[in-house]
């Protein structure tokens, strides 16, 4: 038995962790642009990275530490992705870390970056943050702001987990990412801290499982930016371990943040869950659900609040999965819009479906009727604001 309780204020709740954010002038508007997360003891660390072939320099830098290592320091900058910068990009990180105050005792320091591709880091500018940071601050909020790029709002979460007879631990995270992710390839970064006593050998598996139902449900496999990163740091300071409780809390954290990313979709106004039921295989369910969440015609129909289920059917048919016209059933929330018996949308159903689409979030449920597997992907509408944001991102 365990209880999961929400807490205010992100990473600050987790024992042994400190964080903060400052402005060094990477963002022209004077907002925070460099963040740190550190721990007063060494932490086990696990990370899931982008599958993009052009992995950014910070990811290649991380991988130099090998499969299993411990760390006590993460530095994060926005506005510059340090991607497509070659071996120099990795060397720049080493040079930057050589400027860290020795009093920090940074062991295996980790860097993470987000922003424009193709420019070297401004080492001097970023190193200014080392003088500005209060390394003993617990200011998750400032860190969450510093990692934002096109985000409209900060993303953080903290949970307390009470495990009967064992005690309690915490899981918290900050995150950045706006929208769609795929196909827009916008970067998402997520830093999770915990004081649960996570066994070293379980970190990666638990993180992968949680990412599969959350961040991967908002992006198509293999189609990710150069910098995407989900990282979990465990200080073990609570001394408490319960795999079921931790796994559930971790999934709650990642699912919540993934949906926050969708809700913050570049220019989007609606969050839509695309649930595919009774598919022949889990892979096919995923393929169809993700095809729906990525279809431009579906996204623009959602923007236009047009219950044009033909675009849903056509996208499923085009996704290459097993499906049949005479077993497909489509609902918008509880409103039946298509079944083999009811092919044309009557005025009453159309009005009801239109009312569903006016909501800020709703479900489009496609029952394929050919098997027993299901998957839900999350997406948002695509409107004029998306075009405006992305036509001129760099300037």
């Amino acid at each position: 038995m365990f209880d999961i309780l929400p807490l205010k204020g992100g990473l600050d709740n987790v024992k042994g962790f400190f964080s903060g954010g400052v402005s060094v002038g990477l963002k022209p508007n004077g907002k925070n642009d460099v963040a740190f997360i550190r721990s007063d003891t060494l932490c086990d660390v696990g990370a899931v990275f982008t599958s993009n072939k052009f992995q950014a320099a910070p990811i290649r830098h991380f991988k130099r530490y090998g499969e299993v290592f411990q760390t006590n320091f993460i530095l994060i900058n926005s506005k510059n992705a340090n991607a497509m910068t070659g071996e120099k990009g990795v060397e720049d990180i080493d040079e930057l870390f050589s400027l860290l105050p020795s009093s920090l005792n940074a062991k295996n320091p980790i860097m993470s970056s987000t922003g424009v591709i193709g420019y070297r880091l401004n080492i001097q500018k970023i190193a200014k943050s080392f003088e500005l940071f209060d390394f003993n601050s617990k200011d998750s909020n400032a860190a969450a702001e510093a990692i934002m790029t096109t985000d409209r709002f900060k993303k953080e979460i903290a949970l307390k987990v009470d495990v009967e007879g064992k005690g309690s631990f915490h899981v918290a995270a900050i995150c950045k990412g706006a929208g769609m992710i795929n196909p827009s390839l916008a970067t998402m970064l997520c830093f999770i801290t915990t004081d649960a006593n996570v066994p070293k050998e379980s970190i990666i598996k638990l993180l992968k499982d949680a990412a599969e139902e959350s961040f991967n449900a908002i992006s198509v496999d293999g189609d990710t930016s150069t910098n995407d990163t989900v990282m979990l740091l465990s200080s073990a300071k609570s001394g408490v371990w319960d795999e079921r409780a931790f796994s559930e809390a971790l999934k709650f954290v990642t699912k919540h943040l993934a949906l926050e990313i969708v809700r913050d979709g570049e220019g989007s106004k609606k969050v839509v869950a695309f649930e595919v039921k009774n598919a022949a295989t889990l892979d096919e369910a995923k393929k169809a659900a993700k095809a729906l969440s990525n279809s431009l015609l579906v996204k623009t129909a959602i923007f236009g609040e047009d219950p044009n289920w033909g675009r849903i059917a056509s996208t499923i048919g085009a996704s290459g999965i097993t499906c049949k016209e005479d077993s497909l059933v489509i609902h918008y929330d509880d409103v039946l819009v298509y079944s083999p018996q009811k092919k044309e949308l009557d005025k009453k159903s159309e009005a009801a479906a239109n009312a569903v689409m006016k909501k800020e979030s709703f479900k489009i449920v496609c029952d394929l009727g050919v098997g027993a597997e299901g998957y839900t992907a999350y997406g948002c509408d695509l409107g004029h604001e998306y075009v405006s944001i992305n036509a001129d991102y760099r300037s």
Copy 2:
């Protein structure tokens, strides 16, 4: 030796074919909405259809005739795709054809439809066209207009091919389709007629080869609408056959029309050729080129005339193909924007690349430097007009 010469006026140039278009009120603005193409003798016919699992009723109706058959009549309507209409949708076509004047002697009549998914055909309305048509007219232009949906302009082409020592034949076509096709799943239809003496057994192969380098280069394999159709009718009336000459003329026709579709991209202002060179395999070259032509971030950067090559690199990296940061070279027309030696875009190159992007059409050339295969896909920008058109297509 042979010469290919352009002619005015579409299908009208090909011996033995008649065509026309009328308005029966499917389009509320009174424009032509039903077309016919007929031949005064039986023609061999070949067709390439959508790979969408939910094939529209007219495609299933066509396939009932079997692999090899002859026909002398095609009927085409816009505004209603007759897709997701079940077995009734196919029966509706039979009922419609039963109303054709018997004087036509229509043999194995073919139907083709484009428009909204999920509504039965209005048989009575469409049958009105049988009274309005002049079945002896040669009015390719009226037919081309009748098959338009969101197209901004009509698409037709006609070629005369002179083959030394053999004589001459004609290839002509009308076509509809606007934009992107994929991922927007807008329908494309193309009807090609010829009086070349095409051997029955060559029709499908020649048509597939031509489609691969044209219509398939503007859409991702397998991700097509419910109705996509490319059809070739051969009256053989010239008595002339030369495979090389015919193949080249057919490829010219299909490539021209495919580019016309891109140029007519819903709301688009620019046509861009995405050339991927020196890929490890042809499949990988296609995959990368199509990923580029379909990337929202690339399309919006083109709309914004922003030479942000990082989005090009990131999309290639995300496409899952073999590529290396230290062998990639990217040009915008002749302007080098990225090479392993030149990572950051200097002011001069940026200005030059920006000037290229101001053109109505240009090339983005990605040399992967890992093999010897290449492919060119075609795409367009994505701007506000695309959103406006597709947010409210039905009404």
